[in-house]
């Protein structure tokens, strides 16, 4: 067991942890006055990112003033004597923190630059007959570094003039917001980190030329200092982004501390902090296809919020669609017909970024084409046919003589009938409009579900969203993930159900709708009841309208027939008597939902 020699670092490829040539080795949560000591030890890389102790600030400010000396024309308020007000002091600290950010960004950019320097010549030789490294190796080692460099360079270039021409009202939050939204790049870097290191390690072992390059990368000193470029190993430089990303919230905490809450920057910085925190807490999350798909343009994880089968009215016909609501977009897909030996897949029909989505009110949208309201008697006929078929199937099953083929045939027929009913019976319109033009129309059977969709979308829209367009690849990935992500697996059709599945309740349910309270103003109120049959909800009962009251007492009793029911839903509406809004012809419910709730009937 021979210890590794003095100068040689133990090159242990199995170790993920990396030697850090660290930046902010110590943290300022020390209450003790050892700041002096720290800074002298860490040299130029020390950053007054965190300056907890107020007693230190004069000293700190003096120091930082020196460092930005000659760069900024010092505004007069900076030189205010001790009697300055709290907020002035806070704003002064703000500038100091920002100068610090700038300095550390510069160091970081220089490090990335040094790392990128050998990339071009390496790439150039890769295509020649005597390559130092193969293109694949280069891609593995320098994965995403160029992107990270550009993100930070952009940030630095924008921040620099702001700090140099300092004004207390200047906002920088948007820059931090942008930086935070681009943190997603680091996720890819972290994922590739091990691979990058191993490749670099392997290459420097078997390639002397690359070994020489990687052992001796020159990092420029800060602009105004006359420091000689320092030589650093590639390994140490590759670690920088790792070290950097975990600290991305520290500076925001610091800035926020010195930003008054009424400053225009406050909200922006808070948002940037939230995004960074979201990112950092999700960076280690396993990519669970059930919950996460891809990341949004802001670097947050795009998650599936709600999905379900809906009937879309498009090109003058009813079509069954699966609608997926993600964190920032609504995607309408069609289940592709299953081909043998292949997984079922979805086909994207359209999508709308939630930022562009609006709900048109009934008056301003076109009425539903009459043509598509299926006559009631046809639906009743179909229902009758289905119930005849159902009893036939039951009979066949009981007699046991009936060949399975007969049952199969009957079931197939029933599936056809039911699919038709599923497509034809919904009448409640659900309109969605894309600000950029196109409108879409769904037909639902349950107003409860319509309001659930609407609420889910509106809740997501409360967040600060931005419009975007997915590339075809992104769209493909997202659509591809739909099959795994979906929570609703089957079309709500009885013949789809296996016999052993929980059958729900059968028989008659007696419901008494008694009273309601808690309204803020008196109005004309009524309730409706919805019950499902194998997950398909239909409105079954409706109370009379109780006029001008805050405490309606309906006391009405209903008998509802259940068939494979699981759930009872109750909706309370405010009746709308406005004639102009009323449009009786197309079954539109214009009444406002005041409240809703549901009860699991079968457990």
């Amino acid at each position: 067991m021979e210890p590794v020699s003095h100068q040689g670092m133990p090159r242990l490829s199995w170790i993920d942890t990396l030697y850090s040539n660290f930046n902010y080795g110590t943290d300022g949560y020390d209450a003790e006055g050892n700041e002096e000591q720290k800074s002298s030890r860490e040299g130029s890389e020390t950053m007054p990112y965190i300056d907890e102790s107020p007693t230190m600030s004069p000293q700190l400010s003096a120091r930082s003033q020196d460092s930005v000396d000659g760069v900024s024309p010092t505004p007069t308020e900076v030189l205010l004597p001790g009697g300055e007000s709290e907020s002035d002091k806070g704003l002064l600290m703000r500038k100091l923190v920002l100068s610090g950010v700038l300095a550390s960004e510069e160091i970081y950019i220089n490090q990335l630059e040094a790392l990128l320097l050998p990339m071009k010549p390496l790439k150039a030789t890769a295509t020649t007959s005597q390559p130092v490294l193969t293109m694949q190796q280069i891609d593995a080692i320098f994965y995403k570094i160029q992107d990270i460099y550009e993100i930070h360079k952009d940030f630095y270039d924008n921040l620099c003039p702001i700090v140099q021409q300092w004004d207390n009202q200047t906002t920088v939050g948007h820059l931090f917001q942008k930086l935070a939204s681009q943190l997603g790049m680091y996720k890819a870097f972290v994922d590739n980190y091990k691979c990058a290191l191993e490749t670099a390690e392997k290459c420097s072992q078997c390639n002397n030329q690359f070994f020489k390059i990687s052992e001796n990368l020159k990092v420029k000193g800060p602009k105004d200092s006359k420091e000689q470029p320092t030589s650093v190993t590639m390994e140490a430089l590759l670690y920088k982004p790792i070290d950097r990303v975990t600290r991305s919230t520290l500076v925001l905490h610091d800035l926020l501390k010195h930003t008054p809450s009424d400053h225009p920057d406050y909200a922006l910085l808070q948002d940037a902090l939230r995004i960074s925190q979201n990112f950092l807490s999700s960076i280690n999350e396993d990519i669970d296809p059930r919950r996460t798909a891809v990341t949004t343009p802001k670097g947050e994880t795009r998650q599936l919020v709600k999905d379900g089968y809906l009937v879309e009215l498009s090109e003058n016909s009813r079509k069954l669609r699966h609608l997926f609501l993600f964190t920032d977009l609504l995607l309408c897909a069609k289940l592709k017909k299953a081909t043998v030996g292949k997984h079922q897949q979805y086909d994207c029909k359209w999508y709308i970024p939630l930022a562009d989505l609006v709900f048109p009110s009934p008056e301003e949208s076109e009425p539903i084409p009459q043509l598509h309201a299926t006559p009631d008697h046809e639906i009743e006929d179909m229902k009758a046919k289905i119930s005849v078929l159902k009893s036939e199937i039951q009979k066949e099953k009981k007699s046991n003589k009936g060949s399975s083929r007969t049952i199969e045939r009957l079931k197939k027929k029933m599936f056809e009938y039911e699919s038709w009913l599923l497509l034809s019976s919904p009448t409640i319109p659900f309109r969605i409009h894309n600000k950029n033009g196109k409108s879409y129309l769904f037909l639902l059977s349950s107003d409860y579900e319509r309001s659930e969709w609407r609420e889910a979308i509106q809740k997501l829209q409360k967040k600060d969203l931005q419009a975007f367009a997915l590339s075809s690849l992104e769209l493909q990935v997202l659509t591809g993930s739909c099959f795994k992500l979906r929570t609703v697996h089957n079309v709500p059709i009885i013949s789809n159900k296996d016999d052993d599945e929980s059958p729900g309740l059968y028989g008659f349910l007696h419901v008494i709708v008694k009273s309601a309270k808690g309204f803020s103003h008196s109005s004309n109120l009524y309730c409706t009841l919805e019950v499902d049959s194998f997950g398909y909800f239909v409105s079954k009962a409706k109370t009379r309208v109780f006029r001008d009251t805050m405490e309606p007492e309906w006391n009405e009793e209903f008998e509802i027939e259940l068939e494979g029911s699981q759930c009872l839903r109750i909706l309370c509406y405010e009746k709308c008597y406005d004639k102009s809004k009323l449009n009786k012809d197309n079954n539109e419910i214009v009444d406002k939902i005041m409240g809703k709730g549901q009860i699991q009937a079968a457990t």
Partner: protein, 199 residues
């Protein structure tokens, strides 16, 4: 946020606590001895099997006694935050039996004053001075692992030997604690495996 592991490095004077930490975070080593006067917190990021972690390493001056209560901890600002540590690295000098004895006491005090079994790794530093050691490695190793139920490892901050391994083991044990009831068992297994691969 990124999962954070709080580690405190404890041990007698001059065993090389700061050297080990500095070797790990800053890749440097100083031959001359400067006693640590203040508590210092080092932050290091690490990637372990594709996951990102933050290590907060608390380097404190030698303490005579591990603070048994939070009151005691707050009496001396140098030791602040010590009792929040989830893991401890107890360092001794393989040439100094006294420092080993000190580690023994520290371990006892830590265990007595914590409600949960803390993760403790006992580290024999100055492996480069192998010739002057006071007891054979296996004797110490068996004693620490079997009767103290702690992880055991020897390293050398000067020659940068096993320092990385130490923090890797620490991170593995600290992050997998939920799964294994006895930290020392899981640590032993891990150590054994790694030892094979390095020798």
């Amino acid at each position: 946020m990124v999962p954070t592991v709080q580690v405190a490095v404890l041990g007698a004077c001059g065993v090389g606590k700061t050297s080990i930490v500095r070797r790990f975070v800053a890749q440097d080593f100083q031959e001359e001895y400067t006693p640590t006067e203040y508590r210092e917190l080092y932050r290091a990021s690490a990637v372990l099997s594709g996951r990102l972690y933050e290590l907060h390493i608390l380097d404190v001056p030698n303490l005579q006694r591990y603070p048994a209560t939070s009151g005691q901890e707050w009496m001396d600002p140098r030791f602040r935050g010590l009792r929040n540590s989830r893991a401890f690295i107890l360092v001794f000098d393989i040439c100094s039996p006294e420092s080993f004895h000190h580690v023994k006491q520290l371990r006892q005090q830590i265990i007595e004053s914590s409600s949960k079994t803390p993760l403790i790794i006992v580290v024999g530093n100055k492996r480069d001075q192998q010739k002057h050691r006071f007891a054979p490695r296996h004797v110490l190793s068996v004693l620490v692992k079997k009767s103290w139920k702690c992880g055991y490892l020897e390293c050398s901050a000067r020659s940068n030997w096993h320092v990385l391994l130490l923090f890797k083991e620490l991170l593995i044990s600290a992050t997998s604690r939920g799964r294994s009831t006895n930290p020392s068992i899981c640590l032993q297994g891990a150590l054994h495996r790694e030892r094979c691969s390095i020798m």
